[in-house]
Subunit: 159 residues, 6 copies
């Protein structure tokens, strides 16, 4: 039967014991997007060529947030991430900025939350830096895309 | 002309000078949702009655994240929030959990980012606590709903 | 001869070198209590049934504090905790709330400080949430109860 | 009727709105103790003369913890403390180390939690630095001693 | 007579009471440099045009460190900075990168430490990102350049 | 050809993947100095005998900063340091305080940044505690002195 493992039998929160799980190479990829006005995206894209700093700042914010994940998400385990990358793509048809993050660790539990946190904080950073011109942006479609390692093996989000 | 105020004339990031802005009472309300399987929502709802802890944990994570906002979002100003509330509603038709956060300060700049950060981290916490039963959840529609105080006065998201 | 290992031969503080110690499974259990008025305990207990959030908040605060221990206690080593649980019991005869915390790690040094920090911060959180009705509460009897792993093996506090 | 102000009418946790409270000069004094073996206290006292660092480290840990209080105690408001002092006395008759902390702010809410947190973390730091020679120490009698400022005026713990 | 104000009459550390000081507009400017091989500077400069990210990352690290100053420097007061900027210049004759930081606050104590911390962490970030090609870099000449506000008025470093 | 490994082929920042590197015992030693007036050094030295706390506080600040390095330097990997020591020497001929830090880990990447961060924050703490009597101090000559472990083996700074 399905169960929320972060709750014990009395419904109390706990940091699940992962001590008996195998140390394996674990990878997680998460994705999300910030929808915005076409004009806002244009400012960002120009920044991508002439100024560059909005995306650079969002990338750093995302990487740092991945490292701070266990401090932000109460029941997450501390993790010694061996790699974090955060990438951005401009989609002019929507218009929106697509964000993806990839985290890696050799450990006893997965890094899904680290990747999802990196995407979320990178998205919030874009919102922060563009909000003076576009208050109506939305952060949307933040989800796990792929997961490797651990007992459940290789998982990919169904299309 | 529109401008990204977090960049100076050379395109470099900066923490904008708010020293000359008036100290006013400022409020921001943000919203977002976590979409999930009907069965996952059922587990959460039961938790809401018998166990309670998932939502309680997500609420605390959101409140704490609001306080840590300037540490997470690189160009945000430190803020002495006077109030933070985070609320949750279960929408069974989607199915999804709706999250809203309301932040207040008496200060020289708004608290939109604090409210948006509270929603995002509360959403990630729900994801974390339910991911063992539902890896396909999405965090979606995170946006600013309302903003009071400061030069721009009262703003509400258009329907 | 007895020695304070956190001081070198000149009396200067240092983070002791644990690099040569064996990696073993280590567990620590700590305990403490918050004494309070009978009426305050009654409010908390009712909360335990109808509202629940005081204890839920204190539990989360304790778990998060365990993870942040090396950031709070200057000479503690960083630790990748594999499990943290914090539990509460209501003792109406005193009256008081008893708190216990159990931490686990596979590492080169013990997790006593993590468990003691979890108890202390959970106790402070109860104090914070009840202080509007009872300023005279005391946090008391915070101590190590049990310790497993490492060179010293299994230790239990004498009754 | 008495009420736990950190819970709203549905029992959910919230960071109480202090926006309407007056900005006044607020002071809080807290106290606590670490009981220990006579031999451990002797090592500490000698340190006080020749080595000095245990108490110096505990003092710093306490001061820093006061500043980090709103990050540790979930529903505490951020505070711009204007002063923190942490003091220690050796009581050989018990034997124990008495710790007291005094915090000051000009703000809309009190600094009791900051003073109590300073005492608790200073006590844990003493425990950490002496645990190699005395695992049976207890942190005890942590309480608020005095409180000035705000609506409730001057309060002192009854003897 | 001169005195170290962070120590009380017994030589114990304390967070100095600034509660009686006037709230004034305070500005501090600090400066420092990272000396390096000519080839390393060339890689950085090219980055300035084509890649850009080293300097962008160092700037963000400096701004964030300014906000975290009271968490890093034990006796610093928490501060609600209203502005932080960090700038870089390439000096090919040395060769070195010059870093300057400017912090502003309306408060009861100065922001020298915030500006000096921003410069130091920005410098360390440059070191980190270039160390794979040049382990012999030095961080040097970190100092206060200018200070406005408060009792001491306008101060500038003598040439 | 030389390359800045923290940038990918498009010049974007990333946390380099160290997952394939061997776990070896790694040590790094860094050094730096705070130059000051002779009178300031005299106050510090007297402190070393009668009061002691300036150096004790700076040492603790340095040790704590080493542990927080991956939180401060954006692309640093989290590290479970097994040992940190920070030492000070008074040089009256300059006059200046020399600071050295030594960090150790058993891990997949070096601890140079941890040692350099410890030196820098210890230096800033000395500056903070002495700035009331000497605003013209400089932090200077912060550099890596020695590095052991990893692919590059034993490296020492050339004289």
């Amino acid at each position: 039967m399905s169960e929320l493992t972060h709750l014990d039998e009395t419904g109390s929160a706990r940091m699940v014991d992962v001590g008996a799980k195998a140390v394996t190479e674990r990878v997680a990829v998460a994705r999300g997007a910030v929808t915005m006005d076409a004009e806002t995206l244009r400012l960002l894209r120009e920044g991508g060529h002439k100024k560059g700093d909005v995306i650079a700042v969002a990338r750093i914010a995302g990487i740092q947030a991945a490292k701070r994940c266990s401090d932000l998400i109460p029941l997450c385990h501390p993790m010694m991430l061996t790699s974090v990358t955060v990438d951005f793509e401009f989609d002019e048809t929507e218009p929106r900025v697509e964000i993806s993050a990839r985290c890696k660790v050799s450990g006893q539990t997965g890094v899904e939350m680290e990747a999802l946190t990196a995407v979320s904080i990178a998205a919030l950073t874009i919102y922060d830096m563009c909000k003076a011109v576009d208050r109506g942006m939305h952060i949307t479609d933040v989800c796990l895309v792929e997961k490797q390692g651990g007992k459940s093996g290789h998982w990919m989000q169904a299309k």
